[in-house]
């Protein structure tokens, strides 16, 4: 009996780790493109909140989850264009631009939510993505419920990991992204449109972050809550650096953080005698430790956070 309870607990923990890793992994994948092109987008948090709201709003008004996702992607891209304009066109300081974007997204998402739905006792709800039990595979003992009993967004995200890695390593576009982040002048002199590539990468980052936000509101929960992203945008940035700009390593890192979140929730639920504030802080403490350990060794793209202008030398 004892072992049964343990197995059930372990299955729930591992499945939870996977689920909780998605809203970190999605924005991290996009941010890999953004950072590889030389831009640090610290506005992920704000973009994700806007994406969460758009995903919820889109679903609520159309009663179609896919339209919700579409709304989140469009909102994410639109919002990221602010970052693109500030950092690429105006050549503003990227840390400041990103921070501003996060503040804007936090405030704007709350404001718009109240505008649209008013202040109600019970938050409006939608029917969120339901788990998709993959036939046969989900019947495998232990592995089945851990790996093959998730909603469609989880599977799509895992597919996106493979796609991102492929695009970055095996396509001309990926080559251009890496070149622009390492040596924009060289890329320019080889006829690559540095501005365009960087804008595209920021937009990819925005689309993925929008999806990540939407996962929270329509894939994990079924409503929008103020500040529901809760720092995952920043954790995603840490994951990108920890993963040294590689999608597969980002998957591993996101699972680590997802695991920390899932563990923390379950510890609270069991009622371990630790103040829940400490448990809540677990993923964030982990972030700091991880950054301390790797940031010295990580080889950042050589043109990281540096704006490019052809006539300057």
């Amino acid at each position: 009996m004892q072992t049964d309870i343990l197995t059930v607990g372990l299955v729930s923990l591992l499945a939870g780790a996977i689920r909780m890793s998605i809203p970190i992994l999605l924005p991290a994948l996009g941010e890999i493109f953004t950072q590889r092109s030389g831009i640090l987008n610290l506005g992920l948090e704000g973009i994700m909140l806007m994406g969460a709201l758009a995903g919820f709003g889109g679903t609520f008004f159309t009663q179609n989850l896919w339209f919700g996702l579409l709304a989140a992607v469009i909102t994410g891209i639109t919002f990221s264009l602010i970052m693109g304009f500030l950092s690429i066109t105006v050549k503003a300081n990227q840390v400041i631009a990103g921070t501003a974007l996060t503040i804007l997204g936090t405030g704007l998402s709350t404001f718009l939510f109240r505008e649209m739905f008013g202040i109600q006792k019970l938050p409006p709800q939608i029917e969120s993505f339901a788990p998709l039990q993959i036939p046969f595979l989900s019947d495998i003992p232990f592995l089945g419920p851990v790996l093959f009993n998730h909603n469609i967004m989880v599977y799509l995200t895992l597919l996106l990991v493979v796609c991102s890695a492929f695009v970055l390593e095996k396509t001309p576009f990926g080559l251009q992204v890496r070149a622009v982040g390492e040596n924009p002048r060289a890329a320019d002199s080889k006829g690559i449109n540095v501005t365009l590539v960087r804008y595209l990468c920021v937009m990819i980052g925005g689309a993925f972050a929008g999806l990540g936000g939407a996962f929270l509101s329509i894939g994990f929960m079924n409503t929008f809550l103020d500040g529901m992203v809760a720092g995952r945008g920043f954790i995603a940035v840490a994951v990108v650096i920890f993963a040294r700009w590689n999608p597969y390593r980002a998957l591993g890192a996101a699972l680590l953080f997802g695991g920390a979140s899932a563990l923390q929730m379950r510890l609270q639920a069991i009622g371990v005698p630790i103040p829940h504030q400490f448990l809540l802080a677990l993923p964030y403490v982990l972030t700091i430790l991880v950054l301390l350990s790797v940031s010295k060794k990580a080889e950042f793209p050589a043109a990281y956070t540096l704006p490019y202008s052809r006539s300057e030398r």
């Binding site: 001309p172 080559l175 890496r178 040596n183 060289a186 080889k190 690559i192 050589a302 030398r313």
Partner: protein, 508 residues
């Protein structure tokens, strides 16, 4: 003969200063054309206009007789113009083939076509004797090989007109000869080459025609024949005769200034870069260090200026031990450093000239008091040094990154030599300088040594070493292969540079 390129009345203005002022330039098809001029004359600017990196304010460009507007490098390449820049335009963590595929459309649609490009590169590399391995990463290649990657890249894109901006400044004499072989092969193939260089022997050896710029204006264009001499070219460039042979006084050296014993150090990768290096420099002596780049020169300079820790041995200046001292101690003890890489270690590129000139002594001699800078003194100092060292710029606060390569080097020289040094560590001090400036630097080094400073001179230019040095040490694989007298022959030095130790080497 047809013209491959005709540039008419090109004017390019930076911050109200004309870098090119109504310049005409004609390149004949199937010829090698030298572009000459002092530092800051506007050579690079003119070529950047041809390559689409800069847009001229006015003027017309004709390629193969057709009037064209070149608004991007992409456009230039589609017109058959390729360029190898003064600073290489390569992405270091990528492979050769990846660098060359950059910006090209792939024949396999959305996927990279690495295998096919690799095969084509191998064939092309063989045809022009470039000797490159497509799978190698750029950072693993020597400077000469990196340059060949750039040439290969231009050829692969179908360049008919190749611009080379000071290609030999970073090459060893052997590599330069190889390069010229490649260029001749290209000329036989009907391609046209524009060659920017400050080395007149090279120009005379390989070029069919020259165009000379001075202060952004065209001075003239001339055929180069067997009768043309260096003197002809220099008087066109500088407007006066330049000394080519210095009279180096026979040495009357004083007491030993710098003593280095059994020195060892590691390179950036943690491997031994200096092994048991011992030598001494006396007052008034110039000790030349010959050797192929990358045999410990950089590490030696850094150790002797306190920038790199030693793993063994000792450094004594005027009898005082300096091991494990901070760079500041080395500066205060009077060790001046002219580093090899002026962008990374020599200058603060985003600061003005005046401030760069006081980087080392801002806390002394009236430049600051009670923690505040004395701007008047700083400006005065800058004005004096800019005049003395003929630094060409808009004003004392011009950002160093806006200066031409030669003028940047002069800023470093002015700062280092004006501090009345005991020992001068000069690593490639004339690289990229025009002949006037080169003459000037060499004379300065001789002057300082005559005043009693000891000089450690590292140069890839054997002629420079032979001309200036009292003794010549040869570095190979982090060791001193031998120290020769000033009458050593080029052959002798060459053997040691290749790591061949001959028995009868006299060690003095």
């Amino acid at each position: 003969m047809d013209l491959a390129v005709e540039m008419r009345e090109i004017t390019k203005v930076f911050k109200k200063v004309a870098a090119n002022d109504k310049v005409n330039f004609n390149l004949k098809k199937g010829s090698i054309h030298g572009l000459l001029g002092e530092n800051g004359a506007g050579k690079t600017t003119l070529m950047n206009c041809l390559y689409g990196l800069y847009q001229p304010e006015s003027g017309k460009i004709f390629i193969n007789g057709k009037n064209v507007r070149i608004d991007s490098p992409q456009k230039a390449m589609s017109l058959g113009v390729g360029m190898v820049h003064q600073h290489f335009m390569l992405v270091r963590p990528m492979t050769v083939v990846e660098n060359i595929m950059l910006g090209l459309s792939s024949k396999r649609g959305p996927f990279l076509d690495t295998d096919r490009v690799e095969r084509e590169l191998l064939a092309l590399s063989k045809r022009f004797n470039l000797n490159l391995e497509p799978k190698a990463k750029i950072w693993q290649l020597s400077v000469g090989e990196q340059q060949r990657v750039e040439i290969l890249s231009a050829l692969y894109r179908g360049a008919e007109i190749l611009i080379l901006d000071e290609p030999t400044a970073v090459l060893t004499p052997n590599e330069a000869q190889e390069l010229f072989g490649i260029l001749r092969m290209m000329r036989n193939d009907g391609k046209s080459v524009i060659l920017i260089s400050h080395k007149l022997e090279e120009i005379l050896a390989i070029v069919d025609e020259v165009t000379v710029l001075r202060d952004g204006r065209l001075v003239g264009q001339a055929q180069v024949t067997a009768e043309t001499t260096k003197r002809d070219l220099t008087s066109m460039m500088v407007g006066r005769d330049v000394l080519f042979n210095f009279k180096h006084e026979t040495l009357k050296t004083g007491a030993t200034k710098l003593m280095v014993n059994h020195l060892g150090a590691r390179n950036d990768k943690g491997l031994p870069a200096l092994k048991e290096v011992s030598f001494s420099i006396s007052a008034g002596e110039i000790l030349g260090f010959a050797g192929v780049d990358g045999n410990g020169q950089k590490e030696l300079c850094e150790v002797l200026t306190g920038l790199r820790p030693t793993t063994s041995g000792e450094i004594c200046l005027n009898g005082k031990e300096l091991n494990r001292s901070s760079p500041k101690t080395f500066i205060n003890e009077g060790i001046a450093h002219i580093p090899e890489d002026r962008h990374k270690t020599g200058l603060a590129m985003n600061m003005g000239i005046a401030r760069n000139l006081i980087l080392k002594n801002f806390s002394q001699s009236g430049f600051s008091s009670r923690g505040l800078l004395n701007f008047r003194a700083i400006k005065k100092n800058a004005e004096r040094l800019m005049e003395e060292y003929a630094i060409k710029a808009n004003g004392v606060h011009t950002k160093v990154k806006d200066l031409s390569g030669g003028n940047q080097q002069k800023v470093i020289l002015a700062r280092e030599l004006s501090s009345k040094p005991e020992i001068i560590i000069a690593n490639q001090p004339t690289r990229g300088l025009d002949i006037g400036a080169t003459e000037y630097v060499r004379q300065k080094l001789l002057e300082e040594s005559a005043k009693g400073a000891g000089v450690l001179l590292i140069s890839a230019d054997l002629e420079e070493i032979l001309q200036l040095s009292d003794r010549i040490a040869v570095l190979y694989d982090g060791q001193i292969m031998g120290i020769l007298g000033r009458n050593a022959s080029v052959e002798e030095i060459g053997l040691l540079m290749a790591g061949v130790r001959t028995e009868e080497v006299e060690v003095c």
